[in-house]
């Protein structure tokens, strides 16, 4: 134990010296992991065999020192310091059987892995940048020739476009029946609708013909359809007791009028 302590003291001195040099440009570090990696170099061992405990102490000493010099350390450096203090206690104290968290060794191993990986990426970056580079060591064609582009346009549409286009149109005149020849056909519902609105204005007997909508009188097909629909509608309204119907003789004009309301 005392040996350890002595060793610790020694390394602490070394770390302190190191830290002093480091502190001058704490801004030069890219975060706590970078600082840890730099500190780890003082151990002069393979990163796989690094003493994380020692490293933690070095880091904490560094932070202490920075505090004494009243240097402002970024929050993440302090977070790392707190964590390393925690790690240190885990490494030094016998494991608490009640604690289910990762062991100090596991945490230390992961930190060592992180450092090794960061170092490996730095080495890889250096090797990458040391490669022959385009525009520096080798060169592309200086006088590339234009490739003339012949442009051909191909139009396309999806089924959805098609259906939406159709839907757009149909929404505009949604009330129309679906069939193409609908224009020559008037349904009884349409006639009924129309007649219901108009009947109130007709006090006396009026020819059914006058109920035909505008534009339906001239074309024979439409006239037929409108007449039939209106007639059926008139029958319907008569059945409901809303109008009366009469016809003077066969083929005479059919006349209707609003039934005087007998009751409320």
């Amino acid at each position: 134990m005392s040996d350890d302590f002595e060793e610790m003291q020694e390394s602490e001195i070394a770390a302190r010296l190191e830290a002093e040099a480091l502190i001058v440009d704490v801004d030069g570090f890219e975060g706590p992991l970078d600082l840890l990696l730099t500190l780890s170099r003082t151990q002069k061992v393979d990163l796989r065999r690094i003493s994380v405990l020692q490293l933690a102490q070095q880091y904490l000493a560094f932070v202490e020192r920075a505090k004494k010099l009243r240097l402002e350390l970024a929050a993440d450096y302090l977070v790392m310091a707190a964590w390393l203090a925690f790690l240190k206690s885990r490494l030094l104290l016998p494991p608490d059987p009640a604690d289910e968290g990762p062991s100090g060794e596991e945490l230390a191993a992961h930190l060592a892995f992180q450092l090794e990986r960061l170092q490996a990426m730095r080495d890889a970056a250096a090797r990458l940048m040391a490669r022959d580079q385009k525009g520096r060591d080798f060169f592309p064609r200086g006088l590339p020739e234009d490739v003339s582009r012949i442009r051909r346009v191909r139009y396309t549409a999806t089924l959805l476009d098609l259906m939406q286009g159709y839907a757009r149109l149909r929404t505009r005149d949604e009330f129309r029946p679906f069939v193409m020849d609908r224009d020559a056909v008037m349904t009884m519902e349409q006639a009924l609708e129309r007649m219901r609105g108009l009947i109130g204005y007709a006090g006396d007997w009026t020819s059914l013909e006058s109920y035909l909508p505008e534009g339906w009188e001239s074309d024979p097909a439409r006239r037929r359809s409108a007449t039939a629909a209106s007639f059926a509608a008139a029958l319907e309204l008569a059945k409901l007791g809303q109008i009366e119907i009469r016809q003077g003789e066969t083929f005479a004009p059919i006349e209707i009028r609003r039934k005087a309301a007998p009751d409320g």
Binding site: V153, L162, M163, G165, D173, F175
Partner: protein
């Protein structure tokens, strides 16, 4: 090595110039990478002392004879150029895909849903006249074709969709197109009723219009 340029030059020229093969490589690389033709003088300046770019050029020119690129002289400078007989390779056909216009999509939809369908019918449904160009475009794309003439006055041409159309839209037949109810169920139909417009705007004249239309097309074709 605090010597002047001149003495350095002299000293270096004492060293042997690179072998001709090397010099050829150098000329090749310089000409390849240079954006402009390079003069003999510039080659000389860039190559090691004692080099003979003129001779290297002779070798290089021979080497590229009959190849896909050639060494050509441009004034008093040199450059590499594509062999003239391969100029046709310097073209690239790009196919640009564009969305069909709204007018074309609507026209196409009407034909698909109502085929065989005359132009007057399309116009009647769309409520605006259909430009000749739209129909032509669809014909050219081979998405529609002429159907039978309608046996009505003027015998107007009708349009129907093609097999190509069915293939493009992944349909077995035009009858597989979803109906209005399905469109509505699929949320493709806006349930808001549109403002205004009673049925049969321009009703009575329709038939006549169609005939005229048909007639004119009859003569145009």
């Amino acid at each position: 090595m605090a010597e002047t340029d001149a003495s350095e030059e002299k000293e270096e020229s004492l060293f042997e110039a690179p072998p001709m093969g090397e010099q050829e490589r150098m000329v090749e690389a310089i000409l390849f990478a240079s954006a402009d033709p390079v003069s003999l003088r510039e080659l000389q300046a860039r190559m090691p002392h004692g080099s003979d770019p003129a001779e290297a050029l002779v070798h290089l020119r021979k080497r590229y004879e009959g190849r896909g690129v050639r060494l050509v002289r441009v004034g008093d400078a040199w450059a590499m150029r594509t062999a003239p007989d391969l100029g046709f390779l310097m073209q690239k056909e790009t196919v640009e895909t564009r969305k069909l216009s709204r007018a074309a999509i609507e026209t196409l939809a009407i034909i698909a849903y109502h085929q065989p369908c005359t132009r007057a019918e399309i116009e009647e449904i769309r409520g605006v006249s259909v430009s000749r160009g739209t129909i032509d475009q669809l014909l050219e794309m081979e998405w529609i074709r002429f159907g039978r003439r309608r046996m009505t006055p003027g015998r107007p041409v009708t349009y129907v969709v093609t097999q190509e159309f069915l293939d493009h839209f992944g349909l077995e037949s035009a009858r597989d197109l979803p109906g209005l109810k399905e469109l509505r169920a699929a949320g493709l139909l806006d349930s808001r009723p549109p403002p205004g417009q009673m049925p049969g705007a321009g009703d009575g004249e329709e038939e006549e219009e169609e005939s005229l239309e048909g007639q004119s097309e009859l003569f145009e074709d």
